[in-house]
């Protein structure tokens, strides 16, 4: 075999561009809103991860009857609740619960939804139509109703709440994954890999799923946001987390009975939810824009 056939031809200019993720990050950085969202999220996640280290337990859960229903003051920045607990510390402490609920719910739905969607999209045929019919059935019931049904029937525990919110958004993940698998699987490089004699499993995990990542990542971020809202709505309806657990929805629910005279009890947890959800939405939007191939060209 002679050494080269066409090497001499490649003389054209080549400007090394940044790697894709660097490029995505570059676009993301330009989006002010997304950066603010990311900043807020990092703080929130930081609080969630470290709160055990610096938030005194007794501030969060000890009942101090004498301090009941104190309006915000220097001693209690956000006031105290009906059990005399400090709302500032509770709101802060709730970060972990609320984020965990959002994350776990989305992990539940992603872990169930993505493989099913991937298989349905990749295998196609009967499997696909059965899966999609089932998905139709599932999604004929509005998500929140579905979650209500699940939580009320399985029992009102935190775990079941996460499960319910998670399960109710499984159809979404199935759809999103399937749709992007469908486009990816028709790409010619998949066929090229097949021609190399690779197994389907290898192809799905090595080539198909990595290329479906963008819409899934975006969906995950946005779904965490809506999972936080859904779970707090359930709490509000009396089906979710119970008030003593420091979780924003539960704090708010406890506060709703005091909305007339002690509206601060609703205000701060409500703001916390809003800010968190907003941050996730901003980041999700930012990701969508920066991952969107349409904007690449």
């Amino acid at each position: 075999m002679t050494k080269t056939v066409g090497a001499s031809i490649d003389t054209g200019t080549f400007t090394k561009k940044k790697s894709q993720w660097v490029e995505v990050w570059g676009r993301f950085k330009k989006n002010k809103g997304a950066m603010i969202g990311l900043f807020v999220l990092i703080i929130l996640i930081g609080i969630a991860l470290t709160e055990g280290l610096w938030i005194p337990e007794e501030k969060v859960s000890t009942i101090v009857v004498a301090d009941r229903l104190q309006h915000p003051s220097r001693a209690h920045w956000f006031g105290t609740d009906e059990m005399g607990r400090d709302i500032f510390w509770r709101t802060l402490y709730a970060t972990r619960f609320s984020l965990t609920i959002g994350f776990v719910a989305v992990v539940v739905s992603a872990v169930i939804g993505i493989p099913i969607g991937a298989v349905a999209g990749y295998v196609g045929g009967k499997v696909e139509s059965i899966v999609m019919r089932l998905t139709d059935i599932f999604s004929a019931i509005p998500t929140i109703l579905m979650a209500i049904a699940i939580v009320s029937l399985l029992g009102r525990t935190t775990f079941n709440l996460m499960l319910a919110v998670g399960i109710s958004s499984v159809p979404l993940f199935i759809r999103v994954t399937r749709a992007s698998v469908l486009t990816v699987k028709n790409e010619e490089y998949i066929e090229a890999v097949k021609a190399l004699g690779k197994s389907d499993l290898y192809i799905v995990f090595r080539h198909v799923l990595p290329n479906c990542l963008s819409p899934i990542i975006v969906q995950v971020t946005l779904r965490i946001a809506s999972a936080i809202i859904s779970s707090s709505s359930l709490s509000f309806l009396g089906l979710g987390i119970k008030p003593p657990t420091p979780e924003w929805g539960a704090l708010l629910t406890a506060g709703k009975e005091y909305i007339m005279g002690y509206s601060y009890m609703c205000l701060y947890p409500g703001l916390a939810i809003m800010i968190t959800v907003l941050a996730f939405n901003l980041v999700g939007d930012g990701l969508r824009d920066s991952l969107d191939p349409k904007l690449k060209h």
Partner: protein, 495 residues
């Protein structure tokens, strides 16, 4: 245009709306957890006057035991009373009310048969002695009188027919939300002034108050304790705490006496009892007029109350003593107690705060307690007699009718006994007392019962809950009672 009838007064609005926090669910009085509607539509046979503590005639004009063991009585009925559908009220209707398929089990389970002497005289025979039967008949939930003919003709809606001052307006009524009534123009008793009455079910206290301030409703049940000051300071509103003679409900902590950790360990139960600072529980209860329970279970009828001095064991709040009792309990147990669970019905926030206080109290004496949250059905499943599955329970019992309360709480295997007590001593006392018509003797027996229960810390009573309400200025005729639901039958509002 104003109606010209006698009770009509142009100074009053035609329509009165009240917000209630409890949801009437069916049209059958005996099957309805919310007697607030029952009192409007149905009449009881005997009326219990809470002030004089005497029975008064209602649809029955005369009643008396015809034996000594409280198993048979005769009753004479009011004549000329008409049901909403125009049917006359007769003895047949009474028999039917006590024995029909949907009849409340409180009356039905004791009912054996009836002998109708004539249209207005009836003899009723019970299966076993039940000295409280008359008091049961005074409750429209247990024995709101139905019209046999209309129920037989229409099993679904026929039960909506009563003899009471108000008739259901079925068109405007939306079960579970809005209950509309029109005045019964043919009522045998005192006729209401207002022509239309609407009860709206609003579950959130703050929403009820907003509706009141907005004049969407003219009276509300149970405002939030935290809002009471607001109400008092609002010139348009009036606050009413219950004016009845006794407390509405007893909130208590109970133990699983069958296989819970405290079942065989009296020291553990006593330790927990002594660890509870009732003042804390009350302060966090959200019940403004709550009263510390003084060791007895019922306040409705003082005649049955044991004097506190009769108690042999001091179970008052004392952490030192409580800790010592824990030591004893551990010794009895042969080692550390381990984790306990307290089960609470958390459908209402009040229950949860009580669980929290109990948890914190136990922590103070070195007991580790988990809270298990569940709803009513969950509680019922947990306290299933075959498979009870909890250590401590937080629960409450209504005190409107003390006799049933005592049965519900202490009678083993009664459907409602949530703390699972299976004690021969208690059972014997209760069944014996039930068959005694002599009040003094019964009172003594019940007092013994209380001492026993207290000293053994079988139930730890926490506080008597109250009922309250608020109304707009100009509202008249609402009876804000503490030991039962408010009565809206004669509610009116000045224009």
């Amino acid at each position: 245009k104003e109606s010209s009838d006698a009770s009509g007064d142009s100074g009053y609005r035609d329509h009165f709306v009240a917000a209630i926090n409890t949801m009437p669910v069916t049209l059958h009085p005996g099957d309805n957890d919310a007697p607030i509607v029952n009192d409007l539509v149905y009449d009881e046979l005997i009326r219990y006057n809470k002030v004089t503590k005497e029975f008064e005639p209602s649809l029955a004009v005369k009643w008396e035991w015809i034996d000594d063991t409280a198993t048979a009585f005769r009753m004479e009925l009011r004549q000329g009373v008409k049901f909403h559908n125009g049917n006359p009220f007769t003895a047949e209707d009474v028999e039917y009310t006590l024995s029909n398929k949907g009849a409340n089990s409180n009356v039905k389970s004791a009912f054996d048969h009836a002998v109708i002497i004539d249209d207005y005289t009836i003899e009723v025979y019970l299966k076993n002695g039940d000295a409280d039967y008359f008091s049961k008949l005074s409750n429209t939930l247990y024995a709101g009188v139905l019209n046999k003919a209309s129920v037989l003709a229409d099993p679904d809606n026929g039960t909506a027919i009563g003899t009471g001052p108000w008739k259901y307006d079925m068109k405007g009524t939306l079960m579970g939300d809005t209950y509309k009534f029109v005045r019964n123009e043919e009522y045998w008793g005192k006729k209401p002034i207002t022509k239309q009455l609407t009860l709206r079910y609003i579950s959130s206290a703050s929403s009820r108050l907003i509706a009141l301030q907005n004049d969407e409703v003219q009276a509300i049940m149970e405002p939030n304790a935290a809002d009471v000051d607001k109400i008092k300071n609002d010139p348009r509103l009036e606050y009413h705490s219950g004016t009845g003679v006794g407390p509405a409900k007893l909130y208590y902590v109970g133990f699983n006496m069958i296989n819970g950790k405290g079942a065989k360990n009296i020291y553990l139960r006593q330790a927990i009892a002594r660890a509870l600072n009732l003042a804390d529980i009350i302060a966090t209860s959200g019940d403004l007029n709550a009263v510390e329970a003084d060791g007895s279970f019922w306040g409705a009828n003082t005649a049955f109350r044991a004097p506190t001095s009769a108690f042999k064991v001091d179970l008052s709040y004392n952490l030192e003593e409580a800790r010592a009792l824990v030591k004893k309990a551990e010794a009895l147990n042969g080692g550390p107690i381990g984790k306990l669970t307290i089960t609470g019905n958390t459908t209402k926030a009040i229950n949860m705060s009580m669980c929290l206080v109990v948890q914190q109290a136990c922590k103070a004496i070195g007991l580790d307690v988990d809270i298990e949250e569940t709803d009513s059905a969950g509680i019922k499943a947990k306290t299933d007699w075959n498979n009870p599955n909890f250590d401590i329970i937080q629960y409450n019992v209504p005190l409107e009718d003390w006799a049933s309360a005592v049965n519900r709480m202490f009678l083993p295997f009664s459907g409602n006994n949530r703390a699972l007590l299976n004690d021969d001593y208690v059972t014997n006392l209760i069944t014996k007392a039930a068959a005694i018509t002599n009040d003094a003797e019964r009172a003594r027996m019940y007092q013994d019962l209380q001492v026993y229960i207290h000293d053994n810390a079988i139930y730890v009573p926490a506080y008597y809950g109250s009922r309250d309400g608020a109304q707009r200025k100009g509202v008249e005729g609402v009876v804000w009672s503490n030991d039962g639901y408010p009565e809206f039958a004669y509610a009116t509002v000045r224009k």
